[in-house]
Structure formats: structure tokens, C-alpha cells
């Protein structure tokens, strides 16, 4: 298993390199520059000032040289200084904002897993009964609705009509409720749908009939025999879902004013904050790759038939 992990991690290197290259190329190929910002209320700079700034940030060098310099520094964990927040290093911003996003994403994933599994299992057990239809309908609604639209309705319902929780912020646990729910809803629906269909497949299997014939309690049959086998395909989608939660948080963080990475990302994009963009893109890339690796390893734990070669 160790060689397998090592090989997977080594494979991440060319992928990340390609991601860096594509991002870098798109940033530099498109017209405009960070010194001539298009953002609102930006001050135009004189050509001399632009030249000086370019020199200071190394933007006067040929593009390929800039890329090499970036790579050499990035390998050592140095992503430079943000162009938008001029006196802050990129890694500093990320160290401050990423844990908030991770916290929000972790809670959302937990809610999505618990809610999605519960919904999916009850729909599969009570197939073609009201619970099942309710589950399918909720799942369809939650998959189809963008999370910023859900956020608007949640704020309207929970904050304005019922006045249970504040409309935004991130200081107290009561602030966490709405962003977490909003972010969890889509992934929860996907997990529920997936769980339902794999559970239904497994319920029909021979070993389940055997388990029932042995006289096992129905709850034990479902929770132990069926669940264990139905969870394997469900696991596959959890990795990508977590990445989806990561990117989905741009909107949720904006609407609920959560000081996470999502807000910085959008600002860095429109402000052409090259160092920040590169760092965030690579961070998401590493994160997604690690999540997929983790899921693949969990696979082997759940299903002894899978061997890593």
C-alpha cells in the first residue's frame, strides 16, 4: 500500500505542474495587466510608475522566466506578496482564511453525509412509498437549485420571517447554521440519490436473502449487511463532492459574509492578483487530489477485494 500512496503522490506533481502552467498562461495571455486594473474605483497609474512597479514585482521579465521564478519559489512554499493586499504575504492570507473555509466545508460535509445517508437509506427501505417520493423530490430540488438561490430563500425564511438566526457573520455558532445548511444541501441530495440507488441494488442480492432467512432482525440486515456493501460506490462521489463544497463556498461565503478563502479568491481574480490566483488554484488542486487519494484508500479498507498494486 505504501508504494501505491507514494506513486499516487508522485503522479500529482505533473498534474499540478500542468495546472500551474495552464493558469499561468491564461493569466498572461489575456490583455490587461495587474498594473492597469479594470476593477471598480481603481486609480490609473502613470507609465513611469507602472514601469517601476513592474520591476519591483518582476513583471518586466519575459513570461517564461516569471514562470520559472514562480515555480522555484513555490516549491519552497513562498508564493510572494499579494498585489491587492500589498503588505501581506499570500501564505499569510491563506493561513488565516483557509481554516475558516475548511471549518465551514467540514461541517457542511458532515451534515451532507448524515442527512444524505439517512434520506437515501429510508428511501431505499421504504421504496415507492411516501418517504421515497419525498426523498426523490427533495433530492431533485436540492440538486437543481444553485446554493446562492437557496441562501436567499433560507435568509428569507429563517432570518426575516422566523427571526431565528442572524443574516450573516461568523462569530458565534448561531452564525454557522445557515451557511452550513446552504452549502450542505446540494451534496446531501446527491449522496441521498446515490445511496438510494446502490442500496436498492444490494437489497436484491442473494446474501441479503440469506441474512433474512437466517432470521436476522431487519434493522441488522439493513445496517450491517446492506450498508457495508452499498457504501462503496457512495464513497467514490464524496471526494469530488468535497471539492464542490470548496468551490461552492465562494457564493455562500459572499452572501453570509464568512471571512473564508472564497471571498479572497473572487477579489484576487478581478484584481488580477497573480500570486494569489496561482496559490489558490494550486491549493484547490492539491486538495482535490488528496481527497481523491483518501477516498481510494478508504475503498480498500471497506472492500477487502480491492488490492493496491
Amino acid at each position: 500500500m505504501v508504494p501505491y500512496i507514494v506513486r499516487r503522490i508522485l503522479w500529482m506533481v505533473p498534474t499540478l505542474l500542468a495546472m500551474a502552467l495552464i493558469t499561468f498562461t491564461i493569466m498572461h495571455l489575456t490583455p490587461g495587466s495587474p498594473l492597469d486594473p479594470v476593477a471598480d474605483n481603481a486609480n490609473p497609474l502613470s507609465p513611469e510608475a507602472q514601469r517601476n512597479m513592474a520591476k519591483q514585482y518582476g513583471l518586466d521579465k519575459p513570461v517564461w522566466q516569471q514562470f520559472v521564478i514562480f515555480l522555484a519559489k513555490a516549491v519552497r512554499g513562498d508564493f510572494g506578496t499579494s498585489y491587492v493586499y500589498k503588505n501581506r504575504a499570500v501564505h499569510e492570507i491563506i493561513r488565516q482564511a483557509f481554516p475558516v473555509s475548511l471549518h465551514l466545508g467540514g461541517m457542511a460535509l458532515a451534515v451532507a453525509l448524515v442527512g444524505g445517508l439517512t434520506l437515501g437509506i429510508s428511501a431505499a427501505v421504504y421504496q415507492n412509498r411516501p418517504v421515497d417520493y419525498l426523498c426523490s423530490l427533495t433530492a431533485m430540488l436540492a440538486v437543481a437549485l444553485p446554493n446562492f438561490v437557496v441562501a436567499v430563500f433560507f435568509i428569507l425564511l429563517f432570518s426575516l420571517v422566523l427571526q431565528l438566526v442572524p443574516t450573516g457573520g461568523w462569530d458565534a455558532p448561531s452564525h454557522w447554521l445557515l451557511p452550513t445548511l446552504t452549502l450542505a444541501l446540494g451534496p446531501m441530495a446527491i449522496i441521498a440519490r446515490f445511496t438510494r440507488s446502490t442500496m436498492i441494488d444490494v437489497i436484491r442480492a442473494d446474501f441479503v436473502r440469506t441474512a433474512r432467512a437466517k432470521g436476522l432482525h431487519e434493522r441488522r440486515v439493513i445496517l450491517v449487511h446492506v450498508m457495508k456493501n452499498a457504501m462503496i460506490p457512495v464513497l467514490t462521489i464524496v471526494g469530488p463532492l468535497f471539492a464542490g463544497i470548496g468551490t461552492g463556498s465562494f457564493f455562500v461565503e459572499t452572501i453570509f459574509r464568512v471571512p473564508g478563502l472564497g471571498r479572497f479568491f473572487v477579489e484576487s481574480m478581478t484584481g488580477r492578483d497573480y500570486p494569489m490566483i496561482m496559490a489558490v488554484v494550486l491549493l484547490y488542486g492539491v486538495f482535490l487530489a488528496l481527497m481523491n487519494l483518501l477516498v481510494d484508500l478508504l475503498y480498500g479498507v471497506l472492500d477487502p477485494r480491492i488490492r493496491y498494486a
Binding site: 498534474t15 499540478l16 500542468a18 495546472m19 495552464i22 493558469t23 491564461i26 493569466m27 489575456t30 490587461g32 479594470v38 431533485m140 430540488l141 440538486v143 437543481a144 437549485l145 444553485p146 446562492f148 438561490v149 436567499v152 430563500f153 435568509i155 428569507l156 432570518s159 426575516l160 443574516t167 471539492a243 464542490g244 470548496g246 468551490t247 461552492g248 465562494f250 457564493f251 459572499t254 452572501i255 479568491f265 473572487v266 481574480m269 478581478t270 488580477r272 490566483i277 489558490v280 488554484v281 484547490y284 488542486g285 482535490l288 487530489a289
Partner: protein
């Protein structure tokens, strides 16, 4: 299913005609029996009429400001209220349907136009082209899609055309992969061998024999691609890198007004309802189409 082979004179297979007619007829019958799909389809037609006839239907123009009458709650004069410039929200929502519909249809056409030929060539010819394409696809899959789209948009700048470009550039990967997988299995089938034995050229085999047989999964991916494109536009406009004002877009209206949600809830809620409606309509229709075209899935 094999309608196209019957059309080519040199290789006409007489028995291929009848299953083709019945496939679409059966699918249509199954689709009509699905209430959610019918509701979705009707909603889409309704929104399309709104979009096309916006100039006639909307009570005001979307840019007409009413100074001194900003932030008015819904009334008989302004059915859905007015925004911070005193513009009629209802009219802006009606015009906003245009953006959503156009993006859904045009962007998906671009996605298909890039994805299907590339996927077909890679699947049919294999070899080096296939390898290069698949490596590229792997890298594209490593990017969270939305992040990539936001990046392209913030580099290109706002505008409808740029939205098409951004969605097209990122969306074709999925279609290409799907088409490739379909062709990989289809090209091993007997009818393909028969066509080759009859002397058909490679291009003719792909266009007349293989692609028509891969049509069902492509159509299904199209029906899910359209709401995804609509969502992408709304999301981009929401964070301010999508459509350029003053053109109204539902996503942009939600994004612009979410800061006022505590005081003027209606500014956010009505466009959000618009997005919800169009997304649900396309999803319901898509689900219905999938079940209708591929009854095996719906056991």
C-alpha cells in the same frame, strides 16, 4: 436508432427503418406520460415566449429609471417593486429570461460543437490523438470547473460572448469523454464492421453509423448541460464577472441586491425565484427525457 444508415443509399439496410421510427415515438409517449417532465417542458416554453416577446410583454424598458421612486415595494404600478435606480423589477426579470435562455442554448451548442467531434475522433482513431486528448481531459478534471470559469471570465472581462467562450472552453471535456467512450464500444460492433466491409470511408462511418447510435447519451448530457450552463451564468453574474450591466440577468440581480436583503427582500427573492424556476424546469425535463430515451435506466 439506426436511422442514418438507412439514409445512405449505398449501404441501405431495409430493416433499420422501423425501429428508428418507433424509438422516437415510444420515447415521446413515455415523455408525455411523465407529469413532471410535461410541467418542466411547458415552463420552458413559457419562459422562451417571455424571452422572445420581452419587448412587448414587459411593462417598462429594463433601463428606464424612475428617479425619486427607488426601493419601492411591490405595488399595482410596479408589480414586483423597483430597485435602487427606480427600475421596474418585473420588467428586468422578463428581460433577464433572455440571458438565461440564450446562455443555456448557445453555450451548450458550443460545448457540443467542440466536444462531439474531438471525442469522436479520439474514440475512433485512438492512438496518439486519443492519448493527448485524454491527458488533457485529466488535467481539466483536476480543476474545479467553476474556479476555471471564473478565472477565464475575470481575464476576458464581462459580456455575453465571453460567457459563451468560458462555458464552451470548460464544458466540452465532459461531452468529449462521453462521446469517446460511446465510440470505443460502438466501433467494435458488427454493423460497424459491415459498413467497413462495404467500403465506407472512416468519416462516413463516424458520421452516419456511429454518431447516430451515440445520440441518446449525448442528448441526455445536453439536457443536463443546459441547466448547468444557466447556473454558471447566474453564478458568474452573481459575483460580478458575468453579464455586463445594464443588461439584466437574474444572477446579477440577486448578487447586486443581496446586500439589501434585510430591508428590501423582494429585490433578491424574485430573481432568485426565476433562477429556481428555470433550473427546475430543465432538470425535470432532462430527467423525463432520460427515462423516456433509455427505459432500462428506470427499472
Amino acid at each position: 436508432m439506426a436511422r442514418a444508415p438507412a439514409q445512405s443509399a449505398a449501404l441501405s439496410l431495409p430493416q433499420a427503418q422501423s425501429p428508428s421510427a418507433s424509438l422516437w415515438k415510444h420515447a415521446w409517449r413515455r415523455l408525455r406520460r411523465n407529469k413532471l417532465a410535461v410541467a418542466g417542458g411547458s415552463t420552458i416554453i413559457f419562459l422562451a415566449v417571455l424571452a422572445l416577446g420581452a419587448d412587448v410583454i414587459a411593462p417598462y424598458h429594463y433601463t428606464t429609471p424612475n428617479f425619486g421612486r427607488n426601493f419601492e415595494f411591490p405595488s399595482r404600478e410596479f408589480l414586483l417593486g423597483t430597485d435602487h435606480l427606480g427600475r421596474d423589477v418585473l420588467s428586468r426579470i422578463i428581460y433577464g429570461a433572455r440571458v438565461s435562455m440564450t446562455v443555456g442554448v448557445v453555450a451548450e451548442c458550443i460545448v457540443l460543437a467542440i466536444g462531439v467531434p474531438l471525442g469522436a475522433l479520439a474514440g475512433y482513431y485512438g492512438g496518439r490523438l486519443d492519448m493527448v486528448l485524454m491527458r488533457f481531459v485529466d488535467v481539466m478534471y483536476a480543476f474545479p470547473r467553476l474556479l476555471f470559469v471564473i478565472m477565464i471570465m475575470s481575464m476576458l472581462g464581462r459580456g455575453l460572448l465571453n460567457i459563451f467562450i468560458a462555458i464552451g472552453l470548460t464544458g466540452w471535456v465532459r461531452v468529449a469523454r462521453l462521446t469517446r467512450a460511446q465510440l470505443l464500444s460502438l466501433k467494435e460492433r458488427e454493423f460497424c464492421e459491415a459498413a467497413r466491409a462495404a467500403g465506407a470511408r472512416n468519416l462516413a462511418i463516424i458520421v452516419r453509423h456511429l454518431l447516430p447510435n451515440a445520440l441518446t447519451p449525448i442528448i441526455i448530457s445536453l439536457t443536463f448541460g443546459i441547466p448547468e450552463a444557466i447556473f454558471t451564468e447566474a453564478a458568474l453574474s452573481f459575483i460580478g464577472v458575468g453579464i455586463s450591466p445594464p443588461t439584466p440577468s437574474w444572477g446579477q440581480m440577486v448578487g447586486e441586491n443581496q446586500q439589501f436583503i434585510r430591508s428590501y427582500w423582494y429585490l433578491c427573492v424574485f430573481p432568485a425565484t426565476g433562477i429556481a424556476t428555470i433550473m427546475l424546469a430543465f432538470t425535470f425535463l432532462g430527467d423525463g427525457l432520460r427515462d423516456a430515451l433509455d427505459p432500462r435506466l428506470n427499472e
